[in-house]
Symmetry: C2
């Protein structure tokens, strides 16, 4: 943007850059004039939402003249029943993105410390910066978040929040429930652990510690965007202690969650069979992405998500060249932002047809990248 900054902005707002945490594939398509042949960059669920969710949304569309229930009572009750907790422990909101913004607003005053991993979810960082918080980023360890280092950093900096995604994006790695539970036990006083479980439906049993909704040390975040295939309607939810959950009522956009979104999410939650089919599709697609990577001499990282980070074996410049080559061949793919994980490209689970395209394009993209990025740039 070349617009001058409005002189009436608050000092904090004036200090912020105009940011887009992620450039959408539509923006890239408008730039090139060519639609992508496969969307494998945003970890969307190519199997789509449950047909019963689609039907519920179509019904809700007819009722769209009525404001949504600001308490999202029925969705909240359904989530509570699904999770086996009381409704006071769960709150749906406008995607995990929207909930993260509210959480930062509630807990982070300008100058407060916040801990995350270097290269973890940029939208969280965007909100922390947006409210004047000070980010402390802990390096990944063996391509996974480092629970002990995160807790140590939270203690050292007196952090108000520590962000931890399990399974992790963008690496796909995960920790076992016991490790996460030990992390919860170690959260310093005055700090809240944000446990982002967006990809939990893609992970093996034993990834999430049991819900203990009275525990004020952790706030868990889940979503309908991944396993449930509803990224387009923006519904996430928070699970936590009642005083944490009720605090949202001080700042949230009460009527913000669309009637269509509420009904679609509720119907999706009820269709366990669809979720099971998607989980099967994810497992098969992960295996196939791994196989394609190996056929090309690359190393897939283990994944408990609906994507696979593929180590391209050199540095970020090389991986970026591979990504550009895939884009030229019609594939929308993204990659980690921060070294050394930026040696990878991050390939979302696709349909068989999507992955056929990936299998055909990858050797060409690698060949082009090897030509354009001198091998001397390798580490």
């Amino acid at each position: 943007m070349t617009d001058p900054t409005d002189p009436r902005l608050t000092p904090l707002a004036a200090s912020l850059p105009a940011t887009v945490p992620f450039v959408g594939p539509e923006t890239q398509e408008r730039r090139t004039g060519v639609p992508f042949a496969a969307r494998l960059g945003a970890n969307e669920s190519v199997w789509g939402p449950s047909p019963s969710a689609v039907a519920a949304m179509a019904r809700a569309a007819q009722d769209a003249w009525m404001y949504p229930d600001p308490e999202a009572h029925e969705l909240r009750a359904a989530l509570a029943a699904h999770l086996g907790v009381a409704p006071a422990h769960v709150l749906p909101g406008e995607g995990i993105d929207g909930l993260l913004g509210l959480i930062v607003r509630l807990f982070v005053a300008p100058g407060d410390a916040v801990v995350t991993s270097a290269g973890a979810y940029p939208t969280f960082n965007y909100h922390v910066t947006g409210f004047g918080g000070v980010l402390h980023a802990v390096p990944y360890r063996d391509d996974a978040e480092d629970p002990e280092a995160l807790i140590a950093a939270a203690r050292e900096t007196g952090a108000k929040l520590v962000y931890f995604a399990n399974p992790d994006n963008p690496t796909g790695s995960w920790h076992e429930a016991g490790t996460v539970q030990r992390m919860i036990e170690a959260v310093p006083e005055g700090c809240l652990l944000l446990l982002d479980e967006a990809y939990l439906e893609c992970a093996p049993e034993g990834t999430a510690p049991p819900l203990d909704p009275g525990d004020p040390r952790v706030l868990r975040l889940r979503t309908f965007s991944k396993g449930y295939g509803l990224a387009g309607i923006r519904v996430g939810y928070a699970i936590g202690a009642a005083p944490v959950i009720s605090a949202f009522d001080r700042v949230r956009n009460h009527f913000g969650l669309s009637r269509v979104s509420q009904d679609g999410a509720r119907a999706a939650l009820a269709d366990g069979a669809h979720l099971a089919r998607v989980q099967g599709g994810i497992a098969a697609a992960r295996d196939r992405i791994g196989a394609i990577a190996r056929e090309n001499g690359l190393s897939p990282l283990p994944s408990a998500t609906n994507f696979v980070a593929v180590d391209c074996g050199r540095d970020g410049a090389f991986a970026r060249a591979v990504l550009a080559g895939l884009a030229e061949r019609g594939l929308f793919v993204r990659m980690p932002f921060v070294a050394p994980q930026d040696r990878c490209i991050r390939v979302s689970c696709g349909t068989r047809a999507d992955l056929d395209l990936f299998a055909a394009a990858l050797p060409q993209a690698l060949e082009a990248a090897r030509r354009s990025v001198p091998a001397a740039a390798a580490p």
Copy 2:
């Protein structure tokens, strides 16, 4: 909520009450166990959305596995074309409510002055308080907002924002374009006029001054919730100078506007014939509400909106009793919060069947209110 306040909240968040700016009719229904027979309390459009919008939403529901376009490019382009401005001057967001929150966040630092009318839109006040702003409320004058007093108050307090709804909610009153334009010309330096035109589609020609999108003194807010009958999917939009519009990119939830909402709004905008039918229905319903009021010895206030404020002739206690009597008889109706406008009830335009119910219930509700509220309480 009886939950204790979480000690980790920021000082500002800890100072805020748990608020619900409006209690939804669903909450009241859950309390009584009886669904309302008519929804005449939230100024929803009982004629529903355009059938082509319903169809577009059903189509978008099938694509709901894909994230929405964070730039809302197509909706933005359609709005710009509709308004005759460049896309850089318009931004859709999660309802006017959501946009108001972002605007306050951008322009109001803790302690900054903000001016509104006493009894005007409570959700705006909620956001101002939520970001630590200091509200200065100017009384209504002759049951309408007082442009000169608002500008004078903005000048005296050094306000960052002055809120002005034209047409007004909850009175239904409006000012002519020339008056509004003079207000724009008089906005003090350093202040931004928020011109809330949510009800513009219900108002006579000559209510809105011409768009001058380069003018940095005013930011106009419009919505699909009223005339377009899409309150349930939360789409509002801001029209203003490019540096004001681009500032949203510093703080907004980029992926917050559902794919279903974007497509539904775009289809609704294209269906001018449906809007014209709704406008006809609104005009007829306003007349009928006025006639019913007069038949019962009450005075309808003139309205340029999809509701009519009906002066019940006594004080707030009496009007509240009338409202309670209507609720007992299955009618969801709301009323102004602040004296002397709280002598009114605010009746949304309904279908013929809705207003038949209103015509039947009003005499009974008035009779009950006269019995329960001693006449000595009258002014």
